[in-house]
């Protein structure tokens, strides 16, 4: 057996090739998620029936007139599913935005501030991470009343703790790099340094967790609505549709199955999309070591 010793030139190729593959995850996730987003956007402009229209007859099975059937009050289920998609997207976007902004700011403060502030914030974050989302949501609901905004706020705040901790760790690693020192000796001030060097290097590590939180947020909102802490009627959240269909599941199974399927499709879509995004957004050669 021969052992070839790599020469110096082989160890450090002149052009480092970034890992890049056409991601099947990205395509499948994009299609699934894209369909839900399209439905959500469509619901803003056109609905097959008025949400409060009860003329469809009770618990009808899917038909040409009512594509997904009707509920026990005679309302069109397809209309409700479309509105549910809109609420789900709103929940995901809103809570991810809150988690990203709050998390990144807190994480950056912890990473750049002195030992004391860092230690204090880190302990707070540990507690916040251990705190159950649903319990936090109940507290927010008790404070502000049950509404979609309360749900989004609660879910976003719960998610921000994880993002903050991740930001702190990654930002500390970035700040230890020599290019940060080089930036200082180039005369760059702290805020600009964070914008120019820290955020671009932290951001790629947040994309996947944030995308996963989007899926988590949709489930959390469904759970909250299921137990009656989400958006109040007549807003048709998928979670509330599930809860309402529960008592009639043997007579009209489609009323329970369809929102469930959409929930699952949304979450699988977002998670696959997250996985695919990582490969595109984060070529191996450009991450710090």
């Amino acid at each position: 057996m021969t052992v070839s010793v790599p020469t110096a030139a082989e160890q450090k190729p002149v052009v480092r090739r970034a890992r890049r593959r056409t991601s099947i995850n990205l395509v499948v996730g994009g299609v699934l998620f894209g369909v839900i987003v399209t439905v959500a956007v469509l619901s803003l402009f056109a609905l097959p029936y008025e949400p409060s229209d009860t003329t469809g007859g009770r618990l009808q099975p899917p038909s040409g007139e009512h594509w997904a059937g009707t509920d026990r009050l005679g309302r069109d289920l397809f209309t409700q599913l479309m509105i549910g998609a809109r609420l789900a997207m709103l929940t995901g976007l809103g809570s991810v935005a809150i988690a990203a902004v709050v998390g990144v700011v807190v994480g950056l403060v912890a990473a750049t501030a002195g030992r004391w502030i860092d230690d204090a914030l880190s302990s707070l974050l540990d507690i916040a991470i251990a705190f159950p989302t649903l319990l936090l949501a109940m507290l927010v609901v008790a404070w502000r009343g049950a509404s979609l905004d309360s749900a989004i706020l609660a879910i976003g705040l719960a998610g921000s703790a994880v993002i903050a901790r991740l930001t702190r760790v990654t930002a500390s690693r970035v700040l230890a790099q020599e290019f940060v020192k080089a930036s200082r000796t180039s005369g760059t001030g702290t805020l600009r340094l964070i914008r120019l060097h820290v955020l671009p290097n932290v951001w790629p590590t947040l994309i996947v967790p944030l995308a996963l939180q989007f899926g988590g947020a949709v489930v959390a909102e469904a759970s909250l609505s299921y137990v009656g802490l989400g958006s109040p009627p007549p807003n048709a959240s998928w979670g509330r549709m599930l809860q309402e269909a529960q008592s009639t599941v043997l007579v009209a199974p489609s009323a329970a199955i369809l929102p469930g399927l959409l929930l699952v499709a949304t979450i699988i879509g977002v998670n696959l999309l997250a996985d695919g995004l990582r490969d595109v957004a984060d070529p191996a050669g450009r991450s710090i070591r």
Partner: protein
């Protein structure tokens, strides 16, 4: 300090740009890592700073770059003690004193285009105003270190270690500094490209009249590049003088040991 006139002694030929004046330094309440160190840098002259790891070379460099304040003594820039809180004078200081770091793989932001990295001192120090003016300067700088103009559009991951160090040198040259402080600038590079980077330093120092402080543990490189040499041991400068005389007739036993430890080819 008076302006230098022709005919004065060599040491006074050019005004001192940057100097450490009886500088001591310790981290927190720990032991002193630098003790009573004095060192002067003059445009156009290369000084080698040698010593083993832990001798205090990097700490001294941090102070000379204004990234930390000495516990006693002062860093003098153009004859005045450096005040790190004085934003205006720090701006002038940063324009005049630029670093080249050891590891070109971590001294360039992997997510910033090379052109933007080279332009960063121009922007942050408020030198070249417009976008086109900056782009022209960047092209010129990249060419002066032997890189093609289209390098500006690429990311550091497209370059080898030697090329990255050239980019780092171009960035250091951007504000037209009078002194460059280089911390082991070739120790992370392959032997084959070391000499090319050393020659680049040599040429730049000669053509632009830049004063160079070269920190290294490699005496061969220092001998090739520097006219003067300072030997640091345990935070104290134990010997300082012309490179030739220090290397041929070392007076301090530590220097002799350092010389003996240089591996020679049989």
């Amino acid at each position: 300090m008076t302006a230098a006139t022709p005919g004065e002694a060599q040491a006074n030929a050019a005004p001192v740009v940057l100097a450490a004046d009886r500088v001591s330094f310790s981290y927190g309440r720990g032991a002193e890592v630098l003790h009573d160190v004095s060192l002067a840098l003059v445009p156009g002259e290369s000084v080698g700073l040698v010593g083993e790891s832990g001798a205090g070379k990097t700490s001294l460099l941090r102070l000379l770059l204004g990234l930390g304040a000495p516990t006693s003594g002062e860093i003098r820039f153009e004859g005045h003690a450096l005040d790190r809180r004085d934003t205006r004078s720090m701006l002038a200081f940063r324009r005049a004193v630029q670093p080249v770091y050891q590891d070109p793989f971590s001294s360039l932001d992997p997510r910033m285009r090379v052109g933007d990295s080279v332009a960063e001192p121009l922007r942050s120090l408020g030198i070249a105003g417009g976008r086109t003016e900056r782009a022209a300067r960047v092209t010129e700088l990249l060419e002066s270190v032997g890189l093609p103009a289209d390098a500006a559009e690429r990311y550091p991951d497209a370059f080898s270690g030697g090329q990255r160090q050239r980019i780092a040198i171009a960035r250091a040259l951007a504000p037209e500094p009078r002194v460059i402080l280089a911390d082991e600038p070739v120790s992370a590079l392959d032997t084959s490209v070391r000499m090319q980077v050393i020659e680049l330093f040599q040429r730049l120092a000669r053509e632009r009249g830049i004063g160079l402080l070269l920190v290294s543990h490699d005496l061969t490189i220092v001998a090739a590049l520097c006219r003067r040499i300072a030997v640091l041991e345990g935070g104290i400068i134990v010997e300082q003088g012309e490179t030739r005389s220090v290397l041929t007739e070392p007076r301090h036993p530590y220097t002799r040991r350092l010389l003996d430890s240089v591996p020679r080819l049989p």
